[in-house]
């Protein structure tokens, strides 16, 4: 990997990190277990590694944004996650922030169209 590719990869991961939390919280407005959540995210174009997603669910639960429950489904015990009321509030706030950032970046790009001729949001 060249230096430029490495830099891009680091910046891409940095950019994705916050977005992933937002996407996970948004998906868990509906109850899901780890694997179906991963599939749902991938179907929406946000593929995420198992080693990132499953620990992230644990962290969000520790932070009180998610609640989980072990339940049997298709003869297998699975841990189902859903948003807590705190998680819903947090999601609303984060979405507001996300929309504001998105609008700002869009406005900046529109203000300098020559610099971003190949870029679109």
């Amino acid at each position: 990997m060249t230096i430029a590719e490495n830099l891009f990869e680091n910046l891409r991961l940095e950019l994705r990190r916050g977005c992933l939390t937002l996407a996970v919280l948004a998906q868990l407005r509906q109850e899901r277990y780890g694997y179906t959540l991963r599939k749902a995210l991938a179907d929406d174009g946000l593929a995420i590694d198992e080693s990132t997603l499953y620990p992230l669910l644990r962290r969000l639960e520790t932070q009180g944004l998610l609640a989980s429950e072990w339940r049997e489904e298709e003869k297998r015990n699975k841990r189902f996650y859903r948003l807590t009321p705190d998680g819903e509030q947090m999601l609303t706030k984060l979405l507001g922030e996300w929309n504001a950032i998105n609008a700002s970046v869009r406005a900046t790009l529109n203000a300098n169209p020559s610099e971003t001729s190949n870029t679109s949001l």
Binding site: Y33, G34, Y35, T36, R38, D49, E50, S51, T52, Y54, P55, R58, R76, N77, K78, R79
Partner: protein
């Protein structure tokens, strides 16, 4: 499936022990669902190679387990800048103290007690110990703060606690900048330099200029300065003349505002000549008895003590000068580096 069991067993080893069962059960359920779906799509069980490929994509067991651990730092970003500052201060003082104590040891111990190479070889070990202790203290602090066992407002002040009023006053000489010297101060330097030289030249004939009323008592003592002080004295006079002449030349060339940094280093290096003369004096004798034959037996011990103290003082001065010179050289190099970096941009 056997390979998946082995994988999960390997992951378990690296998980926090309190949550091992829970995490492995969840991970197993998720991975088995994934495997089941893969096999359902293929209409057959995965081959050994396919299974290996799939597990490979999950990442090594250590990598997988590491994500379940809370993010831990030896020294976290909150206290890291403070750690760096403390480390700089500790290393500076450790170097100064090491230089002084070792220089004193070097010139007061028996000739074969300790040598210069040994002192230099021991320095990295000593400094490494200082770094290790500072790091250890901060690692413990980080642990205590992270686990909310202590709250140290000085280390992690709330964001509103900072005030710009407490900022140090503006210093134009900071960041390598040199404050221009005024004409008055350049002229004052020359005048004082001249008087200092006159004062120095008068000291041998009028010792009270240096010692005040104490000169009377000193002349009554049974000790006298060793002959090595004569070249030392003329060296000091030479330094004074050199500095005075240089300041005059700079004034005449109208170049007094920004003296060349190299000249500062020369001024800082010149005092080493008399210091080295003193440190290499024969038998380390800086003071002698006035009446050697009569007082040798009676005053030999106290003479030895006086010489030891005098040598120790000279060695301490030498160590301080070494540190000052080293700092000067580092500053000069940094200045050159900054100028080059600025011009290359």
């Amino acid at each position: 499936m056997e390979l998946l069991d082995r994988y999960l067993q390997a992951v378990r080893k690296h998980l926090p022990w309190q949550r091992q069962d829970d995490i492995i059960a969840e991970l197993r359920a998720n991975l088995e669902s994934q495997l089941e779906e893969k096999e359902g799509d293929l209409g057959r069980p995965l081959t050994q190679v396919e299974m290996e490929d799939w597990l490979k994509k999950l990442g090594s067991p250590l990598h997988m387990a590491a994500h379940y651990r809370p993010q831990q730092y030896l020294i976290g970003p909150t206290i890291f800048p403070i750690y760096l500052n403390v480390l700089k201060i500790a290393l500076t003082w450790a170097t100064v103290i090491y230089c002084i104590t070792r220089a004193v040891t070097l010139f007061t111990q028996t000739p074969h007690g300790i040598d210069l190479m040994e002192i230099l070889a021991q320095a990295p070990g000593f400094l490494f110990t200082v770094v290790a202790w500072v790091t250890l203290v901060f690692a413990v602090l980080e642990y205590l703060i992270a686990h909310q066992m202590v709250q140290i407002p000085a280390l992690c002040p709330p964001s509103g606690a900072w005030s710009p009023v407490g900022l140090p006053p503006f210093d134009p000489t900071a960041n390598g900048g040199v404050k221009p010297k005024s004409f008055a101060s350049a002229l004052a330097e020359i005048i004082f330099g001249f008087f200092w030289l006159v004062w120095l030249l008068l000291i041998p004939s009028h010792p009270y200029l240096l010692l005040g009323p104490g000169a009377h008592y000193v002349t009554a003592l049974p000790y006298k300065l060793a002959p090595i002080w004569v070249p030392v004295f003329w060296c000091l006079v030479g330094c004074g003349v050199l500095q005075l002449a240089w300041n005059l030349v700079e004034l005449a060339r109208q170049n007094w505002q920004r003296p060349h940094p190299a000249m500062r280093l020369v001024y800082q290096s010149v005092p080493f000549v008399p210091i080295i003369l003193l440190l290499t004096a024969r038998d380390h004798a800086l003071v002698l008895l006035k009446n050697q034959a009569a007082d040798q037996v009676r005053l030999a011990t106290s003479l030895d003590a006086v010489n030891k103290m005098a040598n120790m003082s000279v060695a301490s001065v030498c160590a301080v000068l070494v540190v000052v010179l080293a700092v000067g050289i580092v500053q000069w190099i940094l200045e050159i580096y900054r100028k080059r970096a600025a011009t290359s941009q």
